[in-house]
């Protein structure tokens, strides 16, 4: 079955699910999963077969001939779409079921299928006009998915922010594609490396796609949107949708001539968003916000890889770009896998307890062991700990950076700080997820709902298990995925087509495998030994305190206090404290909130300025006819002056 046929069938399947699935969940699920699987197969065929699929038809759409293409790069992302879309669909079958959300579940199903279709179109469209169409439609589908739960005003606000930000990005893309069209004379998208006059377009693309990708400081919409959306939507938005932005950057940085500064800028942006993103994450108390900010970090990590690749290109296709780009693409997959897993876990916690406040949870491991275990695995993966997949991609990116350093060029001046910031980001990620996992699942339940929590059902557990397996497999046998990555890398930069995998990757794989096995052995051995010695249950050591309560456990704010202090300059945390004093203190309050700094301290003032301008202008329409006629006279004079000033003698 050819790739084209597979894609066609996938389209049809999704279309069917879109049409028939509105009322029938099972039908919808079947067709959506079928579509996802077909897309997956198509992507794999391209990645392993190596040669891109291209289809050009005479059929005009908006005055442009339809032209589709699926090459290594788009296949990488199509794979992600398929996996994220399929697992999310299964998960939503229970999580957002008709029974629990009779009003919004049907809509949700329809928009989900539409979203997958549009993302597929974005990835295959090879004509600027159609790309733009698919892109905007995809953004709108995202909006309606985020705001499924429209009754809550918080959700609506978050959705609006997303829509506004994404439209701002789209305006950038308007300029990008029209400029492309007017410079090259056609809407058709194809490699343009040899046209230096196109170089400035890169910056437009970086902005336009960057808003969607959500790297710092364009991430403003991301935290609230991902936190307020239903969890399966958060999963696909965070795991897949923001990758569409990255796809744009990777795709067009591969086709456009690279301005000399590009590598530096992208690398710098990446490092910044890696560090600050995770710093923000660590400070959060809402675990979905924490995950959202962590996405900013991971986008940053990917951007570091892309940046290194760009540096390599501007330095004559230096070979170290290859490792970094491969790492970046691999991290695209990895992040897709473990972030979806984590959001699914978060969803089942939300599902079970109804709160997103970590400081209201605790001790869930006893009621929801599956979720706890899988979440812990995801946490280790996202913290980049061996032997899981997160480490492999970060390791590749590090190698890229190190090779830049050993290259001893001027480029090292950006690579050195980037490497250090990446290391700090890694340590902070570990801290954040130690905090998240521990506060949600360990210790004692802090509130009533947390004690009543229940484990999620099979429909929700299944996708989580599947993704967990993906994380483990990609960690233990990275070498399997090399051919696919090599194919994508070579389609990005033909000079790197040499398919031989870097030797260490294999060694690393075996090392990770041994490590995993030994870990299992040691764990069982120690458990067995302890059991043999005899296990007794006892009180937790509380330093002889008389009546310890669950509220006395370490909270999210106290856990993060030290590190947040170091990043106060960026996080601008707001604290409201009412210390107890007097012999019989009445009440003591300590409220902590970490605002979205860029939004609340930079954009909001600008917005207020514009709104003030608008208020001033609106005063013109004050209802008096006399003034209206005065305006006409004024216009007459104004235009007259304009004509006089510019009159050609």
């Amino acid at each position: 079955m050819t790739v084209g046929l597979l894609l066609l069938c996938a389209c049809l399947a999704l279309g069917t699910s879109l049409v028939l699935g509105y009322r029938r969940p099972r039908v919808w699920l079947t067709w959506t999963v079928a579509g996802a699987v077909l897309g997956l197969v198509a992507a794999l065929r391209v990645l392993l077969g190596g040669d891109p699929w291209e289809w050009q038809s005479g059929f005009l759409l908006g005055g442009e001939a339809v032209h589709l293409r699926l090459d290594g790069i788009s296949a990488v992302f199509l794979l992600l779409v398929a996996v994220g879309g399929g697992t999310g669909a299964v998960y939503s079958h229970e999580y957002w079921s008709d029974r629990r959300n009779p009003s919004s579940a049907p809509r949700g199903r329809a928009w989900w299928s539409a979203l997958l279709l549009c993302m597929g179109l974005v990835l295959t469209a090879s004509n600027g006009l159609h790309f733009l169409i698919a892109w905007e439609l995809f953004a709108i589908c995202g909006y309606f998915l985020i705001t499924l739960d429209r009754e809550r005003s918080g959700v609506r606000a978050a959705g609006w922010l997303y829509l506004a930000a994404s439209h701002a990005g789209t305006m950038g893309l308007f300029a990008f594609f029209t400029l492309w069209a007017s410079l090259t004379g056609s809407w058709d998208l194809c490699p343009m490396r040899t046209h230096p006059e196109l170089a400035p377009l890169f910056w437009l693309a970086l902005f336009g796609f960057g808003v969607k990708a959500g790297f710092f400081p364009l991430h403003i919409w991301l935290p609230s949107a991902h936190a307020n959306a239903p969890s399966h939507v958060s999963a696909i938005m965070s795991g897949v949708a923001i990758k569409m932005g990255l796809y744009g950057i990777v795709r067009f940085s591969g086709w456009l001539p690279i301005p000399p500064a590009a590598g530096w800028v992208v690398l710098g942006l990446g490092a910044t968003s890696a560090l600050l993103g995770i710093a923000f994450a660590f400070a959060q108390n809402d675990f979905k916000r924490l995950l959202a900010y962590c996405s900013v970090e991971n986008i940053g990590i990917i951007m570091i890889g892309v940046g290194v690749a760009l540096l390599a290109v501007t330095h004559g296709d230096a070979p170290w770009g290859r490792l970094a780009l491969a790492g970046a693409l691999l991290h695209v997959w990895n992040h897709g896998a473990f972030k979806s897993l984590l959001f699914f876990g978060a969803g089942s916690v939300l599902h079970a307890t109804g709160t997103r406040e970590m400081s209201r949870l605790g001790g869930l491991v006893r009621n929801m062991p599956w979720t706890a275990g899988l979440f812990a695995l995801g946490a280790m993966a996202v913290a980049g700990l061996p032997p899981l997949n997160g480490f492999v991609s970060e390791w590749l990116i590090y190698l890229g950076l190190f090779e830049v350093v050993t290259g001893k060029g001027t480029t090292a001046w950006i690579a050195l700080p980037a490497a250090i910031m990446l290391a700090m980001a890694g340590a902070l990620a570990l801290a954040s997820f130690a905090k998240a996992g521990a506060l949600i699942f360990l210790g004692a339940a802090r509130t009533e709902p947390a004690t009543q929590a229940h484990e999620c059902g099979y429909w929700m557990r299944g996708p989580m298990l599947a993704l967990a397996c993906v994380c483990v497999v990609m960690g233990l046998a990275p070498i399997i995925f090399w051919p696919a990555l090599a194919c994508a890398v070579s389609s990005w930069c033909p000079a790197w087509a040499a398919g031989t995998p870097p030797a260490p990757l294999a060694t690393l794989g075996s090392a990770q495998l041994t490590l995993a096995l030994v870990v299992l052995a040691a764990a069982t051995a120690l458990w067995w030994k302890s059991a043999a010695n005899g296990l007794r249950r006892g009180l937790t050591w509380d330093c002889g305190y008389a009546a310890p309560t669950a509220r006395m456990q370490y909270t999210s704010a106290s856990f993060a206090d030290i590190a947040v202090g170091w990043f106060r300059w960026a996080l601008q945390p707001e604290r409201k404290a009412h210390r107890p004093h007097g012999d019989f203190p009445a009440k003591a309050i300590r409220l902590e909130r970490t605002p979205e700094m860029v939004l609340e301290h930079i954009l909001t003032p600008v917005g207020d300025l514009i709104m003030r301008a608008s208020a001033t202008v609106r005063r013109l329409q004050q209802g008096r006819l006399q003034f209206y006629i005065l305006y006409v006279l004024a216009a007459l004079v104004g235009i007259g002056l304009l004509v006089l000033v510019g009159r050609t003698p």
């Binding site: 050195l416 700090m424 296990l535 509380d542 856990f559």
Partner: protein, 302 residues
């Protein structure tokens, strides 16, 4: 066959020698204080005793409470195996293995913190928070040190990387890494392993609720980590590569001993820092490593 043998020997070396270091440190402290102090092999006795003891689990704890220490221990030992031992080279060496080492330490940290949070005790939460937070700065310092070695040797593999440059660079690196060693192993001035005031502890606070074999594993792991850092420090500053094998081995052993003793001396001469000072000291360590990096850069530029 020989490979297996070699591996086993190396493993044994690490596992058996590691608990010696805390003993030596305590001896030095006692000597400075003019006491007799516990025997050098005290930790061995403790480990043996703990290994036989039964385990008390907090009512809140889940299996992770026991699994955590095991994974942490494995991670530390794995890291140790990656570390080349002078002439003996390393068990497994590949480009970028240094990253695996660093991240194995991180894995160990994650597991300890996780196990600590299991019981929901405020003290252990406190300890875990401190551990993971200070690690951010320590990590930065370590990576800076590694980068300086990379810049100097142009290699990204431990076995060839640990060929230090004599002079200022080495001195700066030594100072930086020594501070990091103190921090990572929770010694004075960052932490006081002997105090019993939970509020002031990091590592000890995290293991308050552990007992029996798990505790033994934790303690042994900690000692392995100490030895690991000592070895790293020595090889990062002493030009061991140029010596003949026996001399190299001797130098290595002597260096480790020296490091251990100096840790003991520091512990007996310095007081523990106030916690708000800790970041300052860590930043200093980081800056020392960065300077080492710059020196290495200039050294090669000229």
């Amino acid at each position: 066959m020989t490979l297996i043998l070699h591996l086993i020997l190396r493993l044994a070396l690490w596992l058996l020698l590691a608990p010696l270091l805390p003993g030596i440190i305590n001896k030095v402290k006692a000597w400075v204080a003019g006491r007799r102090g516990p025997p050098v092999l005290q930790l061995y006795y403790d480990l043996a005793k703990l290994w036989k003891k039964s385990v008390v689990l907090s009512q809140l704890a889940s299996p992770g409470f026991v699994i955590g220490p095991a994974v942490g221990w494995v991670a530390l030992v794995g890291a140790a195996l990656l570390m080349p031992l002078g002439p003996a080279g390393s068990a497994l060496s590949f480009r970028g293995d240094v990253l695996l080492l660093i991240y194995l330490l991180a894995l160990a940290r994650f597991c300890t913190a996780w196990a600590a949070m299991e019981t929901g005790s405020a003290f252990e939460g406190m300890g875990a928070a401190r551990e993971v937070s200070y690690a951010v700065l320590a990590e930065a310092a370590i990576i800076a040190a590694v980068l300086s070695l990379i810049v100097h040797t142009g290699s990204v593999s431990l076995i060839t990387m640990l060929a230090p440059s004599p002079g200022a660079g080495a001195a700066l690196l030594a100072a930086g890494l020594f501070t990091v060693l103190l921090a990572e192993n929770c010694r004075v001035p960052f932490d006081d392993p002997n105090t019993h005031l939970e509020l002031t502890m990091i590592h000890e606070a995290m293991v308050l609720d552990h007992s029996g074999p798990p505790l033994a594993v934790i303690l042994h792991g900690a000692s392995v980590k100490l030895l690991l850092f000592a070895v790293l420090l020595v090889q990062a500053v002493l030009p061991i590569g140029e010596m003949t094998p026996p001399a190299a081995a001797g130098a290595l052993a002597a260096g480790v001993l020296l490091v251990t003793i100096s840790v003991g001396l520091v512990e007996s001469l310095l007081a523990r820092l106030a916690f708000r000072r800790v970041p300052l000291l860590l930043t200093t360590a980081f800056l020392l490593c960065v300077f080492a990096l710059l020196v290495a850069w200039k050294g090669d530029a000229t």
